[in-house]
């Protein structure tokens, strides 16, 4: 480092402003109108303070709980509904007893081909088939419901810890004596 460098450092040492400099700056700041913030800046400012950040986390957790509970309730209702329908449907309608002789059999076949099956009977059959399909799917749906329940319990525990943290943070940030 040359002597010129040292001399330049010495020549350009920092200087202090007048003693009332800070006071004058603050006075001018106080006279300034509040800066106009854009809508986005104002929205962002809502979650800027530490307390509000925790409130935002709490609200998000509450929303997740509500969605999870609704989903769980929907699945549980579906399972109950299916079980109820199944019990109402009863055993499948029995076929008419087979005719004894061949002549009667032919007559019945001819009758079945010529006469349309009543609509009421078809509907009952379809309902029964649907119920049977649901019975087949019941274990699958039950496992789905169990999984949803597990997820809900996990969400609840996360939300609970988040809310505890939020409460703690709010207490910590609160006014000090």
């Amino acid at each position: 480092m040359s002597r010129l460098d040292d001399e330049l450092r010495n020549a350009f040492k920092r200087e202090q402003p007048p003693a009332d400099f800070t006071a004058r700056v603050l006075e001018r700041v106080a006279r300034q109108p509040e800066p106009q913030r854009s809508l986005w800046q104002r929205l962002a400012a809502l979650v800027e303070p530490p307390k509000m950040r925790w409130v935002a986390i709490g609200v998000t957790a509450a929303l997740l709980i509500a969605i999870g509970a609704a989903q769980y309730s929907r699945l549980a209702n579906k399972v109950v509904d299916d079980t109820g329908k199944l019990s109402q449907a009863g055993p499948p309608p029995e076929e008419k007893k087979a005719p004894v002789n061949e002549g009667e059999v032919d007559a019945v076949i001819t009758h079945r081909n010529s006469v349309a099956v009543p609509k009421k009977h078809t509907l009952s059959l379809k309902r029964h088939q649907l119920a049977a399909a649901r019975v087949e799917k019941a274990p699958e749906m039950k496992s789905e419901a169990e999984a949803a329940k597990d997820k809900l319990m996990l969400a609840l525990s996360i939300a609970s810890s988040a809310l505890n943290d939020a409460q703690k943070a709010v207490h910590d940030d609160g006014p000090k004596p």
């Binding site: 010495n10 200087e15 400099f21 300034q32």
Partner: protein, 184 residues
């Protein structure tokens, strides 16, 4: 800067942005020397420098939400002060009212009077073009490296280096003529 100091400064910036006047006052107190000195060395007029420094802090108050860290705050203040000084100088045509050749030759030797030498150096630097002058001030007042000066002044690194080289060479010439046997 240790972690505790950094955290305190971060906290001050955050509180200032939320309207805490005390925190803003602490920021002003901490940085006023830097801002005022840059303006004072550049403009060579204390009242103009004070006015400019106040405007820089007013601008800071309006832009506190964009300051991300204490380092960013210092960088922001240096940048805004530099640009405002250059603008002010161009507007008011403050630069050289005296040419390099007109700078008075000192009657005393450097060893006899360091204050006189400092004043002479400042007057010679005052004859430099605006950007070159600011490069010298940032280099020797703020002790910044050429890369940092390039960032503050939005200037290519090679331009900063060439400004420094030419300014120092000019200062050496002038001072060797003036001070004769003193090796600089």
């Amino acid at each position: 800067m240790n972690n505790a100091t950094g955290a305190r400064l971060d906290d001050r910036i955050e509180r200032s942005a939320l309207g805490d006047q005390l925190a803003f006052e602490q920021i002003v107190t901490q940085h006023q020397g830097m801002v005022f000195s840059m303006a004072c060395h550049f403009l060579r007029d204390r009242s103009l420098a004070e006015e400019l420094a106040q405007e820089v802090f007013l601008s800071l108050h309006q832009n506190l939400h964009s300051i991300k860290s204490p380092e960013h705050l210092t960088f922001w203040l240096r940048k805004v002060t530099s640009h405002r000084c250059i603008d002010q100088s161009r507007r008011q045509k403050l630069r050289p009212t005296v040419s390099l050749e007109d700078v008075a030759e000192p009657a005393a030797r450097a060893s006899e009077n360091d204050l006189f030498l400092s004043e002479m150096l400042r007057r010679v630097v005052d004859t430099l073009p605006e950007k070159a002058r600011m490069v010298v001030i940032l280099r020797y007042q703020e002790d910044l490296e050429p890369t940092e000066i390039a960032r503050v002044l939005d200037m290519p690194l090679n331009t900063v280096k060439s400004h420094l080289r030419r300014s120092l060479s000019m200062l050496r010439d002038k001072l060797s003529r003036t001070l004769g046997e003193v090796t600089l």
